[in-house]
Amino acid sequence: MTTPAGGASSAPDEHDSRGDTRKIVGILAALAIFIIVLYGYIIPLQGGFISSTAIRADDLLGADPQFEAQMPIQEVDLGASGRSIFIAFVMLTHILFANLHLGGAWVLLSLVVLDLAFRKERYARLGMSLALFNVILFSAGATFAAAGVLFFISLYPTFATQGFHIYWWPLLVEAILFGIEIFFVYTLWFTWGRIRGAWHVFLAVGYALSIYFQTLAIDTFVSGMLTPGEKTITWGAPGLLGMPWIDYLQWWFNPTLWPLQFHRVAAAVSYFGFLIALLAMLHFRDRTDPPSKKYWDWAGSFGILWGLVGLVAQPLLGLWYMYSIFSHQNQAFTNIMTGPRAWEMLMMIGLLSLLIVTVSVYFIERRERLLVRLGRHDIRNLFRAFAIVAAVAGLVLVQPAWLGGIMQFDPGTWANPLGLMYYKHIAILVLVAIGTIIIGIDLLVLREHRDKEWGNLSRASWMAALIAGVLGSWIVIIMGYVRESARSPWLFYNIIPVPGGQTYPTPVPPFQIFVVWMIGLGLAFAVFWFTSRVTSYHPEREEEV
């Protein structure tokens, strides 16, 4: 049994315990420069500070008067964007908590199956920790969901009244599934190690499916806001159905329902994986005993792999989603791809590139000793090449397509020769390939060899995992904001406008949303870390890993 302190030779150990922290400095510097250039240069030059309410003023005039606000606007004392900031804060924070279940359920299922198949204590331990973590944080997600509902009805009364009526049945299903979901995850935690394997797998599958269908139910609403199933809202007679059945189906199963649903699941899995990594790194630092250090090192690596799995699935699903928006809500597509909200997509893809680079650095640093010991210099060089190629791909991806105009094809704009979508598609493909191959190498080539190495986490890989956790969470709420701002200045696209007209412009401006992101992330991380301190089962003795 090797302990991390008493390694074989001392000199390489000294080196390894730090790792190459220059790479980490490079990642952080790249992130900082990217944000500064984006906010200081690209956003102003792409019209990102001009509201959609102003840009689409003519369209707004055509809105059906019955969907205009009939009540006075409820203000919240946060300026003209106050209401939108409120909703953004509540909904983005809700997403951070709700995704714990949407993504976490599948990770938990994997742990239940691994526990059943391999009977290693670490699977059960991590599974129980994560299940209890989700049980305790269930109420936080539900509370933010409820608060969001309240804010909608108070701040956007016409929209909420219409929306909740159209989506009454999906929402009813969603509310019922809340109960079923908490039953499953609670029982899953409670019965760990107490009931037979098949039943336990059943509970894990039930949990995952109930949250999957719950998300589907709410996604009928969420996707319908961007791509409504009909041109306007036409009500019929009172009763079970307020409009013909076929119309309801158009609204619920609208053109972007499925792409949004699958994209969300993949994003949530990725987010949950990176979050495990982040929390594991904090526990790693917190605990002093070797068994715990080994265990949390492993948990971090496990989380990163799941994060990567979710990450490489997203570009494909995202492209499908974008294509659905392109064909069904072309104006919204131009807003976010070739218009004043394109900076959000740039930011998202920039963070995605940086995530792949960070994960590559994690693997370079994390497997350094192992690869040297195994003599696999080929893999070592491959990882290094990946980090460099990913960085180059990232540089291509963050190119703004144009500068100096609100829309890409406005007269007088400067077209960036490097900003063509063709290049970007290739660059994303390269990132997907890199991510997939890293998963393959780590799982297939290094699988059995990794076990002896746990506990020897170098400082650089520790920091890389931490950064991956932050970026993986941030990217989720950026994506939420992209959808929200694609819709502006409408609540139901081209049907119900954001009430208040030019006095209350949307979307939330770039600096304000940045603050919302930081507060949401800060709050969520504080809660996560605190909860994870109480819900974690640490190893009490050395186990045979």
Binding site: F326, F409, V432, I437
Partner: protein, 41 residues
């Protein structure tokens, strides 16, 4: 036997990964290069 099985599993996984990358290329080709975005006029 066990070693053989794990080797076969490894091959299967690599093939799955290769297929995934293949699908990715196809998806990007299908949506990205041929349909998105509208060509500049």
């Amino acid at each position: 036997m066990n070693r053989n099985r794990s080797r076969r599993l490894t091959y299967a996984m690599w093939i799955a990964i290769a297929i995934y990358i293949g699908i990715a290329i196809y998806v990007f080709w299908h949506f990205g290069f041929t349909k998105l975005p509208p060509p500049p006029i």
